[in-house]
Symmetry: C2
Subunit: 304 residues, 2 copies
């Protein structure tokens, strides 16, 4: 399968590399890592074993990639104004688009531009960071849950799942993409925002009892809002929160992407992770006072 | 009147200096500023005109001060464990104690140790910072409202008011000390905490619409909790919030004390300004979700 990776940050580089290693024909649109990858290839330093791809199809211009079977989108959502322009040159009549971006609103943006039938979304539970140019660090996790933007379990999502699984990435197709998006927000809303705001990693946040309790309160708010959305099945708050917390307790001082974005002076993904969910909660007339406060606290100094 | 100042930070130094300039017999318990003040006296750089006191009664040991008519307490509340020990040597049979400290619980502490009849409390609306040793900067405001811990308008609070007014400090005696304490919290809870958490001064916080709105939401919570306390009259939320915001809009990039405490690595006054009000709100079965969240966010990295 010919695959184009748009937005080759930690997530795009990692999954693209895994797919290439398994024999897929992967093409990366790069910026920061272009020169290093052209010269020495791409290195994945992974908890599951390091590997190196000496030969990588690297591009600075999406038009040079041309049509692919699958566009894999890993762009930071704060760059979504460029998304349509970057994806368009990769589309042939049968091209599918899978966005693994954070938060809400990404499938909608792609569907509006290119048609809902092309679009799939997925959530990646991946602990990864960029290293030096030409390197990506895989710190843990990595599983993907993906589904059709239009809902239901089609043969296409099944096929993509098999491609990921064959590449060593645990992957599952789901019929209710909306639900898994909200499930991911249950993690992202507390951990991304609090780590960025306080400059503390997940272990520091969970070790301090007041912030651990606040994380649970934020998770409660997100689940309450999620369960007012048209989900196939509601999220069962108590066991789900317990599972999220236990999983994060296992992470050793992991720094969420938003913590790194803030430290390095990049914009934060506030629209996708906070503004859009808050807007849907308001429409459903459910209050998220702590989430709203966190959004306000994060917004000072940001442009969005 | 013989007056002892315990806790000679910006507030204690400023009011002590004003009282001395007006002819009162003031004695300062000092630490950081002791040497500078012994050598060159105390300088007040004030928006109302600078002045210098070449001769100041300065002490490193409270026992050296001996009994006074009035103990003026300006100690940071995070040092309250030392309060009783510091005040005790200054007490004669008729000594009154006036605490101008932030937050709740200070009068109670003094009353328990020395008897409620000795204790007055006051809130100071003062913008001041410490400068170099031997200097205090008065940036604006300065008015005091004081009252008997046991309630009511006695001759003593009237007499103290006159002493302050004669010293050029706007001062008013109030019968309901509890109410003015909560009124002050309406300012302190949003501005102290948010400035410390975000490293932004009051002008920056008010210029950014989301934090301006959050400030109003926090003020609403504090007033709702205040109005569940046994106040003589409830606080009328809308005009009071408007007045607080308008007053603060006039302050030019003022940095609240807690912002400076955090930047300089000192403990924060979390018990008096957050924990105690939250505890009283919980007893009155009223929720303060944003205040509670702010307290949690500030507590990480603190010992209390």
């Amino acid at each position: 399968m010919r695959i184009g990776v748009i937005g080759a940050g930690a997530l795009g580089l990692y999954y693209g590399a895994m797919l290439q290693r398994s024999g897929q024909d992967v093409h990366f649109l790069l910026r920061r890592d272009y020169q290093a990858i052209c010269q020495t290839g791409l290195t994945v330093s992974s908890v599951n074993g390091d590997f190196h791809l000496p030969q990588v199809n690297a591009y600075l211009d999406a038009a040079q990639i041309g049509p692919v079977d699958l566009v894999l989108v890993g762009l930071k959502t704060f760059a979504n104004r460029q998304l349509v322009k970057l994806v368009a040159p990769l589309l042939g009549p049968e091209t599918s688009i899978l966005t693994l971006q954070n938060g809400l609103g990404n499938e909608e943006l792609l569907a509006e531009a290119f048609g809902a039938e092309r679009v799939l979304g997925g959530i990646a539970f991946l602990c990864s960071n960029r290293g030096e140019p030409g390197e990506v660090k895989h710190l843990g996790e990595g599983r993907i849950r993906l589904g059709e933007f239009s809902g239901g379990l089609g043969p296409r999502s099944q096929q993509l799942t098999e491609i990921y699984v064959a590449a060593g990435v645990p992957c599952e197709a789901v019929s209710d993409l909306r639900r898994v998006r909200w499930e991911k927000l249950v993690w992202n809303i507390p951990f991304n925002g609090l780590s960025a705001l306080l400059g503390k990693d997940v272990t520091e946040l969970l070790t301090h009892q007041p912030t651990r309790q606040l994380i649970e309160q934020l998770m409660q708010e997100v689940i309450a809002a999620a369960n007012r959305q048209p989900l196939e099945e509601p999220i069962d708050a108590t066991p789900f929160i317990q599972q999220m917390i236990e999983m994060t307790d296992q992470m050793d001082h992991y720094q969420p992407s938003m913590m790194i974005d803030r430290r390095e002076g990049r914009p934060l993904e506030l629209a996708a992770i906070y503004a859009k969910p808050l807007q849907l909660a308001a429409t459903a007339e459910i209050e998220m006072p702590r989430t709203e406060m966190l959004h306000k606290l994060l917004s000072i100094g940001e442009n969005n």
